[in-house]
C-alpha cells in the first residue's frame, strides 16, 4: 500500500515535469510574433463568423437585402468598407462571407481527413490489393480538376455551396490517403511493430495502439496547412458561379460581383480579396509554426 503511494507520487512528479515541459514550449511558441499574430487573426475572424448577426453593422444586408438608395458608396463612417452595386454594406457581407470560408474550409478538410485517413491506413497496412486499388482510385480522382467535377455535380444537384464542397472533397481526400499510406508503410517497418507481434498482438491492435498515435501529428499539421488551399478553392468556385449563389455572401462571389466596377469602385472587389489573402496567410503562418512546435 505504501509502495503504491510511492509510485503514485513518482507518476505525479513525472506528469508534472511533462506538463511543465509542454508549457515552456507552448509559451515559446506563442512568443514567436508571427505565430501569435496569426492566431489572433484566426480567432478574430472565426469569432466574427460565428457571431455574424451581432458583429455585422447591417446583418440583413449581409444576408443579401438590397439597399438601392446607397449604391456604390465609397468608404465612410457609415459604411466602413463602402457599399456594392446593390447598396449593401461590404463589411457586413464580408462578415457573413467569412462563414462560408471558415466553415466550408473546415468541412472540406475534416471530411477529406475522415475519408482519407482510414483508407490510407487500410491501404498501407494491408499487403497487396487494397493498397493498389485505393492508390489507383485516388490517382484518378486527383487527376480531375475540381472545377470539372463541380460542373458535373452542378448539372445533377444544381449549383450551390453543397455541390462546391462535395466537388472539392472528391479530389481532396486522396492526398490524405496517400500521405497516410506512406507513413504507415514507414512505421510498419519500425521494430516496435515487430516487438508487439512477438508479444502475440494482432493486426488491429497494432494498427490502433501503435501506428495511429504516431500518425495523428501528421494528420493535424496537414489539416491545418490545407485550410488555406480549401478556402481559396471555395472562393474560386464561388467566383466562377459554381458555389454560393447570390444574394448570399461569399468572398469569391463578392470578387466576381465587384469585378465590373474594379476601375471606378475598386473597394468592392479588393475587400473580399484582401480578406481571403489575410485569412489564408494566417492559416499558413500558424500551420508552419505549429509544425515547428510539434517537431521541436
Amino acid at each position: 500500500m505504501k509502495d503504491e503511494l510511492k509510485y503514485k507520487h513518482l507518476a505525479e512528479q513525472a506528469a508534472r515535469e511533462h506538463r511543465r515541459e509542454r508549457k515552456i514550449r507552448t509559451i515559446a511558441f506563442l512568443k514567436r510574433k508571427s505565430a501569435a499574430a496569426a492566431l489572433l487573426v484566426l480567432v478574430l475572424i472565426t469569432l466574427a463568423a460565428v457571431f455574424a448577426p451581432l458583429v455585422a453593422p447591417y446583418p440583413d444586408q449581409g444576408k443579401g437585402a438590397v439597399n438601392l438608395g446607397e449604391r456604390l458608396q465609397p468608404l465612410s463612417g457609415k459604411h466602413l468598407l463602402g457599399t456594392d452595386t446593390f447598396g449593401r454594406d461590404i463589411l457586413s457581407r464580408l462578415v457573413y462571407g467569412a462563414r462560408v470560408s471558415i466553415f466550408g474550409g473546415l468541412f472540406i478538410v475534416c471530411a477529406a481527413a475522415l475519408i482519407g485517413v482510414p483508407l490510407g491506413l487500410w491501404a498501407g497496412y494491408s499487403e497487396g490489393a487494397p493498397g493498389v486499388v485505393i492508390s489507383r482510385i485516388g490517382e484518378i480522382l486527383i487527376s480531375f480538376p475540381a472545377v470539372l467535377i463541380a460542373i458535373a455535380i452542378t448539372t445533377v444537384i444544381g449549383a450551390g455551396l453543397t455541390s462546391a464542397v462535395i466537388a472539392l472533397i472528391i479530389p481532396w481526400w486522396p492526398w490524405y490517403a496517400r500521405i497516410i499510406q506512406g507513413e504507415v508503410l514507414r512505421l510498419k517497418r519500425m521494430l516496435f511493430v515487430e516487438a508487439a507481434q512477438m508479444l502475440g498482438y494482432g493486426k488491429s491492435y497494432i494498427l490502433f495502439r501503435h501506428l495511429l498515435p504516431n500518425i495523428m501529428r501528421t494528420v493535424m499539421v496537414m489539416m491545418l496547412l490545407d485550410f488555406g488551399p480549401a478556402i481559396i478553392s471555395i472562393g474560386l468556385l464561388g467566383f466562377l458561379g459554381l458555389g454560393t449563389q447570390p444574394p448570399n455572401a461569399d468572398w469569391g462571389l463578392m470578387v466576381w460581383e465587384g469585378a465590373p466596377n474594379l476601375m471606378q469602385q475598386p473597394w468592392i472587389a479588393i475587400s473580399p480579396g484582401a480578406a481571403m489573402f489575410i485569412l489564408v496567410m494566417a492559416f499558413n503562418i500558424f500551420g508552419d509554426n505549429l509544425q515547428d512546435y510539434l517537431d521541436g
Partner: protein, 332 residues
C-alpha cells in the same frame, strides 16, 4: 541440461528475388539454406557470421516472424511452421526478441510503464492486479529506477533504451530469447554494461537464448557454444573456448584471425579472408566457401559437404577436409 528446447531441421528461408510477368519468382535469395540446429534448455548459443550471411533471418525464422519455405522448427516439442496466427499466439510470449536498434524498438508515444505493461499483459497467466509492481521489478532487474517508468523513450540514452527492450523481453517470463545484434549499435563501454547485464540475468533467471553477432569477442563473453554461419549455412558449431583455440573450419579460423587483441605491444597481422561474400541468390557449387578457401581441392568445388557431428560434445562441422587440417592457437 539435456532437454532440447528448439530444434530446426533443414530449415530454408528463401525470399523471391525477381518476379516475372506472371508473378512467379525468377530467382530466390537463399538467406537460410538447410540449417539444422539444436538449442538446449538453459543454453546460450552464439550465432556468428559476416553481415548478409542470413544470421538475422535465421533468428526471425525460428521466432516465426518470417515463414520458412521448407524445413521445420520445433519449439518445446511443437512444430511451429504450419500454425496460423491464433494457434501461434500462446507461443508468442514464450519466445522474445531484443533487436539491434533500441530507438526503433520502442514506440515513441508510450511511456516505459505502458511498454512494459503491454508486455506483461501479453502473458496469458499474468497477475492482473500488480502490473505496476511487476513493472517496477522488471525495471530493477535491468538497473533502472521506478521513476524511469513514467518517461518516454526519447528521454533515455541508447543503453537505457536497450535495457527497456531487455526488460520488455523478460516481462513475459519467456523460455527463449533471441538477441539480434543487440549490442552492435551501442558504444563500447555501454556495450560492456549490457553484456554484463545479460550475463547476470542468465545466471539469475537461467535464460536460454540465441545471441546473434558479427563480433566473436562479444559472443565469447555471453555464450557457451557458438555456431558459425556462412552464406546461409551453418559451417561449424563449437564450444566457445574451443572455437578460439582450435577452430575446425577454415572460415572459422579466418574469422578468429581477424579479431584484434587489445594489446598495443602485440605485433598483430590481421589476415583477412580473401575474396567477397558470395551472392545468396546464386551461391557457389560444392562447398560455399571453396572460392575463398586456401585449402580447397577438387572435391570441395563439386560436392556439397554435409554437416557432420564431431566426436566432441555437441560440435558439428561442414567441411570435407577438416580431418587433414589442424588449426591451433597460433595465429597466422
Amino acid at each position: 541440461m539435456g532437454e532440447v528446447l528448439i530444434r530446426t531441421q533443414s530449415l530454408r528461408t528463401w525470399f523471391p528475388k525477381r518476379k516475372s510477368l506472371l508473378g512467379k519468382p525468377g530467382a530466390w535469395l537463399k538467406a537460410v539454406d538447410d540449417v539444422s540446429l539444436t538449442i538446449y534448455r538453459g543454453e546460450c548459443l552464439g550465432l556468428a557470421g559476416e553481415s548478409g550471411c542470413g544470421k538475422s533471418t535465421l533468428g526471425r525464422t525460428i521466432l516465426q516472424l518470417v515463414k520458412p519455405r521448407s524445413g521445420s522448427v520445433r519449439f518445446d516439442g511443437t512444430a511451429l511452421r504450419n500454425l496460423d496466427f491464433r494457434q501461434l499466439q500462446p507461443f508468442r510470449p514464450r519466445m522474445q526478441m531484443v533487436f539491434q536498434d533500441p530507438r526503433s524498438s520502442l514506440n515513441p508515444k508510450m511511456t516505459m510503464l505502458k511498454i512494459l505493461a503491454e508486455a506483461i499483459r501479453a502473458n496469458p497467466d499474468h497477475d492482473g492486479d500488480s502490473i505496476l509492481d511487476q513493472a517496477v521489478e522488471l525495471a530493477d532487474m535491468v538497473d533502472l529506477r521506478p521513476e524511469h517508468l513514467f518517461r518516454y523513450p526519447h528521454e533515455f540514452s541508447g543503453g537505457q533504451q536497450q535495457r527497456i527492450c531487455i526488460a520488455r523481453a523478460l516481462a513475459t517470463c519467456p523460455d527463449f530469447i533471441v538477441f539480434d545484434e543487440s549490442t552492435s549499435a551501442l558504444d563500447v563501454s555501454v556495450q560492456a554494461q549490457i553484456l554484463n547485464l545479460i550475463k547476470r540475468l542468465k545466471q539469475r533467471l537461467g535464460l536460454t537464448y540465441l545471441f546473434i553477432s558479427h563480433d566473436l569477442n562479444v559472443l565469447a563473453q555471453v555464450c557457451e557454444r557458438i555456431a558459425v554461419m556462412y552464406a546461409g549455412q551453418i559451417v561449424e558449431i563449437q564450444e566457445s573456448g574451443r572455437l578460439f583455440s582450435s577452430p575446425g573450419h577454415p572460415y572459422t579460423r579466418g574469422l578468429r584471425d581477424a579479431v584484434p587483441i587489445a594489446d598495443p605491444e602485440a605485433k598483430q597481422t590481421f589476415v583477412s579472408i580473401k575474396g567477397e561474400v558470395p551472392s545468396l541468390v546464386d551461391p557457389p557449387a560444392g562447398c560455399r566457401f571453396h572460392p575463398r578457401c586456401d585449402f580447397a581441392d577438387r572435391l570441395c568445388a563439386t560436392r556439397v559437404p554435409e554437416l557432420q557431428r564431431l566426436e566432441r560434445h555437441r560440435s558439428w562441422i561442414r567441411c570435407h577436409r577438416y580431418r587433414q587440417l589442424n588449426f591451433n592457437q597460433e595465429r597466422r
